[in-house]
């Protein structure tokens, strides 16, 4: 039977080991996996590195949505009404994707300055404006005071 003091020590050491292991994991994961959010104005001012993943948010520019001949690739522009960035996406767009609506796209910028989206985040509510998009519009001085109610993002169940 171990002494109480030793047992405490052991528990403490195990706790410290778990904690430091977890910290290391968290730090490594944070380094690689945190995605920054850019507005079209941010990209115009200082484009992110080409291979770096990030999110861009704004409104889908009116009249910019075009389907390429393969029928799957969609081109559109995301705008904060001051600047805009061209986006391509291959696949099925979310149910509520529409011109004039707020969207958040996730992907990388290619050398030609076109944002290649891996994912376009839909919203489950059409009166909803993703908070990032609202911020971007405010920053560009284009905010028209839309009530932001409701919900976001493609994922999420509970």
């Amino acid at each position: 039977m171990m002494k109480r003091k030793h047992r405490r020590m052991l528990a403490l050491l195990a706790g410290l080991a778990a904690l430091s292991g977890a910290t290391a994991l968290v730090l490594i994961a944070f380094q690689d996996n945190i995605m920054l959010f850019y507005s079209p104005s941010d990209i115009a001012a200082e484009p992110p590195r080409a291979e770096r993943s990030f999110r861009v948010g704004g409104l889908v520019e009116e009249g910019s949505v075009r389907r390429l001949d393969d029928g799957l690739t969609v081109e559109f522009r995301i705008t904060d009404l001051a600047e805009s960035v061209p986006v391509t996406y291959r696949g099925i767009l979310p149910d509520l994707f529409r011109e004039g609506q707020g969207v958040v796209a996730e992907g990388t910028l290619n050398p030609a300055g076109v944002f290649e989206a891996r994912e376009v985040l839909a919203k489950h509510d059409e009166t909803y404006m993703p908070p990032e998009v609202a911020e971007a519009l405010k920053a560009a001085g284009q905010w028209r005071g839309q009530d932001s109610v409701g919900a976001s993002s493609e994922g999420g169940a509970q």
Binding site: R7, G15, L25, M35, F37, L93, S152, S153, Q158
Partner: protein, 658 residues
Amino acid sequence: MIPEIGHFALILALLVALAQGSLPMLGAARGRADWMALAGPTAVLQLALMLTAFLALMQAYVVSDFTVLNVAQNSHSAKPLLYKITGLWGNHEGSMLLWILILALFGAAVALFGGNLPATLKARVLAVQAWIATGFLLFTILTSNPFARLVPAPANGGDLNPLLQDPGLAFHPPMLYTGYVGFSIAFSFAIAALIEGKVDAAWARWVRPWTLAAWCFLTAGIALGSWWAYYELGWGGWWFWDPVENVSFMPWLMGTALLHTAVVVEKRDALKVWTILLAILTFSLSLIGTFIVRSGLLTSVHAFANDPERGLFILVLLCLTIGGSLALFAWRAPSLKSGGLFHPISREGALVLNNLLLATACATVFLGTLYPLFLEALGGDKVSVGAPYFNATFVPIMAPLVVAMAIGPLLPWKRADLPGALGRLKAAALLAVAAAFAAVYLHRGGPLVAWLGMALAAWLAAGTLTDWTGRIKLFRAPAGESWRRARSLPRSAYGMTLAHFGLAVAIAGITASAAWKGETVRIMTPGDVADLGGYGYRLDGVETLRGPNYTSDTASFTVLRDGREVARLTPEKRRYDVQRRETTEAAIHTTGIADLYAVIGDPDGRGGWTVRIYHEPLVPWIWAGALLMVAGGAVSLSDRRLRVGAPARRRKTAPAVA
């Protein structure tokens, strides 16, 4: 008139909660039996009043009484009856009502079934329950009144978000809330124990069944929500590490840890302080789970309409509950006597490891979920933390846990022989290696971690069965002897076996679906065949159909394997009449080994349709695994020794067993 009765009942419930929270607590402190005796009847009265309020609102929903603002905003006369009823909790105000109703239900259950609890403990537990109820009743009445009237009443309502008009989601919130709120009992017992200054085996025997019941509901609720995301969102995924999923997952992780330490307190009278802390943390995380999405701090699918006033109220409430209970813990915990000693290599030691890893995993999820919030509050960049972060932190922490999970149950209490236990797991180790090789052989090109996941699943499944066969001495004793042992094995042992085996099944499903999911997106015209995962999907046609409150483009696919028809899939794209929203209804055929999953998108204007097809290997195993875990919890709960009234009966049956 009826909504006013509901509103009045809600206010009365608040007054009753105030009485229930104060008098019994004072009575317990001063030894006044008459004051303490108030706790039971007030808890039952509380339930009656909450039930009245709940039924009043339900009546408004069922008859579509649009003079009630909440109904007008969230219901519609043309909606199917099921969704009229479930629409009640598809919004912020209504779901608050459901939350408090469940809280009252648990309180009344303790009052009615806790007959053999010591009077002071019972009074204090129910008083703490009433404090929680007071906070949330105040919140509901002051900021989120579900009975507010609307004048003039509109001709028809705004309808429920079509995504929520689905059986999976209709029953998901009550399950989840029952889980969250169920942990309030463990919390109340912990606070009461801190006030009493006493934690013993009997205390753990009362806490454990409540925790187990809450855990079962939470497990079922999370699985149901995940299943809903899987078939309703049409993305072919079932877990997105979305904030709203994470906040339900954190109390599950903590609750799982609590479940295991409660066993140690009950059997060995050790780890008491830690168990109290876990009970507080689990319920705190449940509160965060229910409310952080509503405070508007994190947005997600269920970010119900939020206003700043509510957010502030919620934050104050969370700070008071969590801060207050932790302060009480810091003040009183040192006075709790710590109990039995144990060697690090023992069942207790294994359970400590379980707790350590679960708590660490929970902490990394917490950090990832709230980091964007902290960073923004500090004026930093806007960031999002996505699935890669969680996969990179959570999985490496869970892997050693699963390894230990097969060993732990083989270790006896107090002091164990680790080489002996490992020796018994030789077969499991062989099976794990075989599973790894099979995974590598069957799926060349899959990610490397896939074989590790399959090996872990096989290891855990085989290890769990090793424990069970060892207990009944299968093949080492005559068959009759084994049969007798199998029958006399306590149900809680079967519960553990089932739940651990269920996790193994789920791990296999999770690994396979993450590693070998197949996906194709293409334009198809009727007659085209798409090949994926050994199956051919032939688009037969798309027609426009009319549903009760929507129209849909319904595609029909014939799925072929070697030229033979396997299944027909009819994915839909629905447009709901009232809100003019579109939803995707995926079509899924399960073979038991894989799901064949098809989604229909937009027409391309030239007779073709965008189509997305997924081959989802072993995904049905995830739900089967979750079901096994819930069943394990339920079986363990039915163990007579765990029942609330058990201590008295146990003494009577003990000689017979010996």
